[in-house]
């Protein structure tokens, strides 16, 4: 019952948004959708439900982590959207509202999917739902960003479909499971044809890795995150990437069961380290603070991949990081959006003194930076610590060393840009009237930051248990 | 045996100008004209042999030797070819290499004779022709390799002989691709449209024509005759490859089919020349590389 609530209500509201005549009241649909989704998630926490549709849809531990993060993030952005859309009455928000609600429905299906085919369809729908939204600002740059996003994501999705077919073939032999249900595939385990599983993992890593934004498949991210409005950036960086990570994790489940774990783990750690390295390099001297956030997202996807690939205790850390990263990115993107609107520019050489002009958003942007780079007492510090612990505990000192190195470089690079934006005097910087801080636009990031801080200070036991059981699915502990 | 040799050599000597006649007739028909008689090429050769030759003062013995060596090279290659499914007069393992290099020798001396005139114009033509040939040669070799792999032999008589029937039954797609590639190479080597226009009189568009511009009288006859023999050569290979899939028949029937196939080949060349336009010079390498890749694909199909 609650499962249908979280999927069908946003979908129905998305359709309604297309037909809704009044532009001023349309954003309320976002709140309605967010509220229904949050209510459904709470119900699912309190009373878990059995699998739906012959086992195709079921909320297991991993899905619960991702969907809870998504739900919280969407709630925050829905509140933010009320203020944001009201201030931009010149833009038609029909496609925007409808697209966001469609995105929520699609992400929910990914979280619930236990069938690799349904998983793929839902990821495809997230791409299609978000591509028009990147074009919200209707200028040449956002068109370029939307085209690159659409092309690269579609490429990745097509390769992921090929990989899904490979997995189906791996189980198609005599006596095989002949199914794409994750449970059936994991059960068949060693009976799956190994060369097909290995080839499948490569294609699926490339495909879902493109959606995640792992290097070297991340070329669309700086453009898309840089040009998209803040809300969309938050949902992309904190929602869609997590959902893509979940898809990758499901594939990893099957690959592990087939006995190809060593190959898969090496690939994951390799790409993870590459992502962190690339992010570190490109963040230095970044001139556009929204593109900088995109590279931060690449870095954190690298961290997630490393956590999954290391195995053991690090996997629980990765799932913990899913939650932390999602919330922290929400803070960063929403406040960056506020700063962008207030100055009319995203360039670091033009924007300064944000903490003076925007007394809430500016310091929140700075606090978000501290959180996302893993500064204690914010919670990302703890999740990164668990992953690092896992690396050193397994004797992988090189991986651990590089991990710390890249984190440090990112901290320095990002810090330089953020401080330039936040500090200083805002006299002489370009101004846009009508975009001062309000509770609707600054409240949600504040709430998200507060939760990141709270999680860092005290992790509730049910959450810790949830991360561990999610990790257990993936072969961790 | 002697009779067979007699037939093959006389076919090689007498048939080529007829092929050129068929090509020109087909082109004329496409253009809506009646066209020259089929035997026109023979009349032209006879006329040229009766004429005197003019030699530029800047030329040396190379210029006089070029046409003769070219014709000799092509004739020798003709001896290596199995005409109509019979064994060739000269046949040994790896003779397809000799064939390719004899053709290259002929081309080399033609180009050398062109350079011997000392004119930069002929040099331009020689440069173009030789660069296209350098891309066409790998394609030609790849086609031969495909044939060799399909029939399991390394001599032309084996490749284009009786083993072809079995090869067609087993790997028809590969042989079809190789045939198409071979046809493209034939068009390139014989300076036909879409690579070069043999009827052009615009000097900047000439490739092969410009190399033979300075020859006159008997030398020009030798060159034209050699060119027609080269067309006959390639036609023989393509036709034999195409007909190889048919069930074996009596010798006379096979021979008649071969001759008919040659006529059809000439007609197809004529049609291609009438239907297509000349490619831009930068596109010719693309076409030839495409032919190479096609034959590589055919080889991959055979190797799997």
């Amino acid at each position: 019952m609650a499962v249908t609530l979280v999927i069908l209500v946003p979908l129905a509201l998305a359709a309604a948004a297309l037909a809704w005549p009044d532009a001023r009241s349309r954003p309320w649909l976002l709140l309605a959708g967010a509220g229904a989704h949050a209510a459904g998630m709470v119900a699912l926490w309190l009373r878990p439900e059995p699998p739906l549709a012959e086992g195709y849809l079921f909320l297991d531990a991993a899905g619960k982590v991702v969907l809870s993060t998504t739900s919280a993030l969407f709630l925050a952005t829905a509140v933010y959207a009320q203020g944001y859309l009201r201030r931009r009455p010149e833009k038609d928000n029909r496609v925007f509202v409808s697209g966001l609600l469609g995105l929520l429905a699609a992400m929910t299906v990914v979280g619930l999917a236990q069938h690799l085919g349904i998983l793929w369809v839902a990821i495809e729908l997230t791409t299609l739902a978000t591509a028009p939204l990147i074009y919200f600002n209707r200028n040449a740059r956002s068109l370029e960003a939307a085209w690159k996003y659409l092309l690269v994501s579609s490429l990745g999705i097509a390769l992921a479909l090929l990989g899904t077919f490979f997995i189906a073939l791996s189980g198609a032999g005599p006596g095989g499971p002949r199914s794409l249900l994750v449970g059936a595939l994991v059960e068949a385990g060693p009976g799956l044809s190994k060369p097909w599983v290995r080839a499948a993992f490569v294609f699926l890593l490339v495909g879902y890795g493109t959606k995640m934004g792992l290097a070297p498949l991340h070329s669309w991210k700086p453009d898309a995150y840089g040009e998209a409005p803040g809300i969309l950036g938050a949902l992309l960086a904190g929602g869609v990437t997590n959902v893509a990570f979940l898809s990758l994790a499901r594939v990893f489940q099957v690959t592990r069961a087939a006995g190809e774990a060593a190959f898969a783990c090496d690939a994951l750690i390799g790409l993870g380290l590459l992502s962190m390295a690339l992010a570190a390099v490109f963040m230095a001297g970044q001139r556009d603070f929204k593109r900088m956030l995109a590279y931060s997202s690449v870095e954190h996807m690298g961290i997630l991949a490393i956590g999954l690939g290391l195995g053991g205790g690090a996997v629980a850390g990765a799932f913990y990081h899913v939650l932390n990263n999602g919330l922290a990115k929400g803070v960063l993107f929403l406040t960056a959006g506020n700063i962008h609107r207030a100055y009319g520019s995203k360039r670091v050489d033009e924007v300064r003194g944000a903490s003076r002009r925007l007394p809430l958003s500016g310091p929140l942007f700075f606090a978000g930076f501290l959180a996302v780079t893993g500064t204690p007492p914010f919670s990302p510090f703890w999740s990164e610590f668990v992953i690092l612990n896992g690396a050193l505990g397994k004797g992988r000192y090189a991986v651990g060393g590089l991990f710390i190195l890249f984190l440090a470089v990112v901290f320095v690079g990002m810090g330089a840009t953020v401080l330039k934006v936040v500090q200083g005097d805002d006299r002489g910087a370009p101004e846009r009237p009508g975009f001062a801080d309000s509770w609707l636009t600054a409240g949600p990031p504040l709430a998200l930051l507060a939760s990141v801080l709270a999680l860092g200070l005290w992790l509730p036991a049910p959450l810790a248990a949830l991360f561990r059981s999610a990790a257990a699915l993936m072969g961790g502990s | 045996m002697v009779l067979r040799a007699f037939f093959q050599v006389s076919l090689l000597l007498l048939a080529p100008p007829l092929l050129v006649g068929i090509v020109n007739r087909v082109k004329a028909l496409f253009a809506g004209r009646r066209g020259p008689p089929l035997l026109q090429a023979y009349y032209d050769l006879a006329k040229l042999l009766r004429k005197g030759a003019v030699f530029s003062r800047t030329t040396t013995w190379v210029f006089r030797a070029g046409p003769a060596i070219g014709l000799a090279a092509v004739f020798l290659s003709g001896l290596l070819l199995p005409l109509g499914g019979e064994r060739a007069l000269v046949s040994f393992r790896g003779d397809f290499l000799l064939l390719a290099y004899l053709l290259a020798l002929g081309r080399f001396f033609t180009a050398l004779a062109a350079l011997d005139t000392g004119s930069s114009f002929e040099g331009m033509g020689a440069a173009r022709e030789v660069s296209f040939a350098s891309i066409a040669e790998p394609a030609l070799f790849l086609c031969f390799v495909v044939l060799a792999r399909a029939t399991g032999t390394l001599s032309l008589s084996g490749m284009l002989g009786a083993g072809l029937g079995a090869a067609w039954r087993e790997s028809a797609p590969a042989l079809l691709l190789a045939g198409i590639a071979l046809f493209v190479v034939a068009l390139a080597e014989n300076a036909r449209i879409p690579v070069d226009d043999p009827n052009t009189h615009l000097e900047l568009t000439m490739i092969h024509e410009v190399m033979v511009l300075d020859h006159s009288g008997p030398d020009l006859a030798l060159i034209l005759y050699g060119a027609s023999m080269k067309l006959f050569l390639f036609g023989a290979v393509v036709v034999r490859l195409a007909l190889g899939g048919l069930p074996p028949a009596s010798a006379s029937l096979a021979g008649a089919a071969f001759l008919a196939g040659l006529g059809l080949f000439a007609a197809v060349v004529g049609v291609t020349e009438s239907v297509m336009a000349r490619l831009r010079l930068t596109r010719v390498p693309q076409m030839l590389v495409g032919a190479s890749v096609l034959s590589t694909f055919a080889l991959v199909l055979l190797l799997r």
Binding site: E124, A140, E144, F165, L169, R178 | G290, V293, F297, R304
Partner: protein, 215 residues
């Protein structure tokens, strides 16, 4: 019968090579349409008596209508709107593209040896053809500059995935096949709309114009 299927697979690969070498947009669109028709024929030829007739006809008919008619029609409209006839010199030139395509075909055949088919009666050309078509599509998307050719490259990639999907028609539900066609349709629709906007915004479909965002 087997030789017809062989021929069709070979033709699909030959069309791939043509796509890599051609610069005339009209010819490329027609070649992609031809490939779609070939795929539809493959869906019919590869169907064994065990499959539901209705399902087979649906897949083959859907592939024909969408890949061979509808999408090429959309593309022709796009180039008519933008008044372009030729691809500009791509990032990877035509000859290197051809060579890479040829190398891809050889590699696809080599890799397919390591991927044993579950049921031996499945056709041996299928996996290499599918993989080489995917590779061709990837090459086209990555190396071409006109947005229309990039979209066509994506279509070719989807064709490759579709060929592969034909292997699974006996035990995979209709959903998977429909998923491929749906994916195609939706993506191309959206791409078509974006192309329309690109043309309007930049007055050209040359993605060189889409190069202002960089680090």
């Amino acid at each position: 019968m087997t030789s017809w299927i062989d021929m069709t697979f070979v033709l699909v690969v030959v069309v791939n090579l043509f796509l890599l070498a051609s610069s005339r947009l009209g010819a490329v669109i027609r070649a992609v349409a031809l490939q779609g028709a070939l795929l539809s024929a493959l869906a019919l030829l590869l169907a064994s008596p065990a499959h539901a007739v209705g399902h087979v006809l649906l897949v083959a008919g859907g592939a024909l209508v969408i890949k061979a008619f509808f999408i090429p029609w959309l593309m022709f409209r796009a180039i008519r709107e933008a008044a372009i006839r030729r691809e500009v010199e791509p990032i990877v030139g035509f000859v290197p593209s051809l060579l890479l395509g040829g190398a891809g075909i050889a590699l696809a055949f080599a890799f397919s040896r390591g991927l044993p088919l579950p049921a031996p009666e499945m056709h041996t050309f299928l996996v290499p053809t599918a993989l080489s078509t995917v590779w061709t599509g990837l090459l086209l998307v990555v190396s071409r500059k006109k947005a229309v050719t990039q979209a066509l490259g994506f279509l070719v990639l989807e064709n490759g995935v579709f060929i592969f999907g034909l292997l699974l028609t006996d035990f995979m539900p209709v959903m998977v096949e429909a998923g491929v066609l749906l994916d195609l349709l939706a993506a191309v629709f959206v791409m078509g709309i974006v192309i329309f906007h690109i043309n309007r915004e930049f007055a050209s479909l040359d993605t060189d114009a889409l190069a202002s965002l960089k680090d």
